[in-house]
């Protein structure tokens, strides 16, 4: 019995990794589409979001099947319920990549009002956060999960830096306003991606300890 259950849990982990890889790729592609003003790539990213949503449904069904078949308890229950929670965050990250891509499409390849530096860096940092949070889950690495949570400060600082710079650009020339608003929204979406990665890391810690944000859940 247990052998079959362990196999099912391994399969669940593998599916989650597969989904998060797709999402990480979406973040990376979004970054490329943004820096190269590539609307075709942005459209592709939006189309790919349906695949990510389908993966979410599949993993969700797997979790429910495991709950009914195996009636998991203790560490098993925490693992399966953590996957259910993590899943929502991973899916939402996919949505944000898609949201950013829509803005890229609207900007329609226009020259930027500034050289993009901080926003691509936000993309890189958040992509790594998502990657690390899932690695932490699969390898049961609580230290790595804590690292992800700590890294979020860096993303928040970058967002503030982008915001301050855009305010100066708007003050200098009102015509920058349109694009400045698009860019601040893009930065905000990356900032939210960082928050979702933190959520994932917090569920990793729950799965390993029973504590979520320092309070006992089970």
């Amino acid at each position: 019995m247990r052998k079959q259950f362990d196999k099912q849990l391994e399969n669940l982990n593998a599916k989650l990794v597969e989904m998060s890889e797709a999402v990480e790729q979406a973040i990376a592609n979004t970054n490329t589409a943004l820096t190269t003003r590539n609307t075709e790539l942005a459209k592709e990213i939006i189309a790919c979001d349906d695949d990510i949503d389908a993966m979410e449904k599949e993993i969700e069904s797997l979790c429910l099947k495991l709950i009914i078949q195996q009636q998991p308890v203790a560490s098993d229950l925490r693992l399966v319920s953590a996957v259910l929670k993590i899943l929502t965050d991973v899916e939402r990250i996919g949505d944000h990549a898609s949201d950013i891509s829509e803005i890229i499409c609207m900007m329609n390849g226009k020259e930027y009002i500034k050289k993009l530096e901080d926003i691509p860096q936000m993309a890189e940092v958040t992509q790594k956060m998502v990657h690390d949070s899932i690695v932490a889950f699969v390898s049961k690495d609580i230290e790595l999960a804590k690292e992800v949570i700590a890294t979020d400060d860096k993303v928040d600082d970058l967002f503030v830096a982008v915001k301050d710079e855009l305010i100066v650009l708007i003050n200098n020339n009102q015509e920058n306003g349109d694009q400045a608003i698009d860019l601040i929204m893009i930065a905000k979406y990356f900032e939210r991606i960082g928050d979702h990665a933190v959520n994932i890391a917090e569920w990793v810690i729950f799965s390993l300890t029973g504590f979520h944000k320092d309070s006992r859940v089970m």
Partner: protein, 253 residues
């Protein structure tokens, strides 16, 4: 002693011949709660239950160390009556064993032995016990029928009624639902939820799932040692001891 503690097990050890089957166990059992003792076979669960009302004394060559207090009073106190203890702490066994007499007489048997009671008093006691055990509606029209004509689940509820007729304070059930179908099991579990309002309930569940469904607190025993005890949420959600986790997730046992 804390207000809501019914039973306090203090540094309790149990030996059959020279073999120690319970090792220095310490635990408090709360009033108006269902406490489950669970673990793999030969863990000491049944022996512990049989200790709580000194049923083990029916076996020869048994020894105990430590103490068990009920309402703060030692059950081993020389001037306490073992008969009174077993009335106060009733036990329902794995295999229902109704006496080969009528349904009514099975439940009336204990109260009649205890002291002189009028017919109407006995009737009231039997009716109340059968209601508490959720059997009354099934049998109220055939109280004179032989107890053996009842189904397995009904027989087990009859045994619970027989314990209740003695107006106990603690009810113990030792794997009392092992042989029952899910409906009968659900009926017994449902009546336990009612009964805990009034009594202290101690069970050795027949499987982990039952322990999870009905216990307020749970204690995991392994080879005569209490490995951990706590609220159900703690023990089945995030057990502290790896062995508890391994057992309830089916990794051994």
């Amino acid at each position: 002693m804390e207000e809501n503690i019914k039973i306090e097990i203090k540094d309790f050890s149990f030996l059959y011949h020279k073999k120690q089957v319970i090792h220095n166990l310490n635990l408090k059992i709360h009033k108006n709660e269902i406490t489950s003792f669970f673990g793999p076979a030969n863990g000491g669960v049944t022996t512990l239950l049989r200790s709580l009302n000194r049923l083990f004394e029916l076996n020869h060559d048994t020894h105990t160390k430590g103490d068990i207090l009920i309402d703060g009073k030692s059950i081993f106190d020389p001037d306490s009556s073992v008969t009174e203890l077993r009335r106060k702490v009733g036990m329902v066994f794995e295999i229902p064993a109704p006496l080969p007499i009528s349904i009514f007489d099975n439940v009336a048997y204990g109260p009649r032995l205890k002291k002189k009671k009028s017919k109407s008093e006995i009737n009231d006691v039997v009716e109340q016990a059968l209601k508490q055990a959720a059997l009354w509606d099934d049998v109220k029209d055939r109280l004179k029928a032989p107890a053996m004509s009842l189904s397995g689940g009904q027989q087990q509820r009859l045994c619970i009624a027989r314990v209740l007729a003695l107006q106990p304070e603690v009810i113990m059930l030792d794997r009392a639902c092992s042989g029952l179908d899910p409906i009968s099991t659900a009926k017994i579990e449902e009546s336990l939820f009612q009964l805990k309002e009034e009594f202290t309930i101690v069970i050795a569940p027949h499987n982990v799932q039952q322990a999870i469904r009905i216990s307020d607190r749970a204690a995991f025993m392994l080879m005569g040692h209490l490995i951990e005890a706590g609220t159900s949420d703690e023990v089945f959600g995030s057990p502290k001891d790896q062995r508890t986790n391994d057992y309830i997730t089916g990794r051994f046992g």
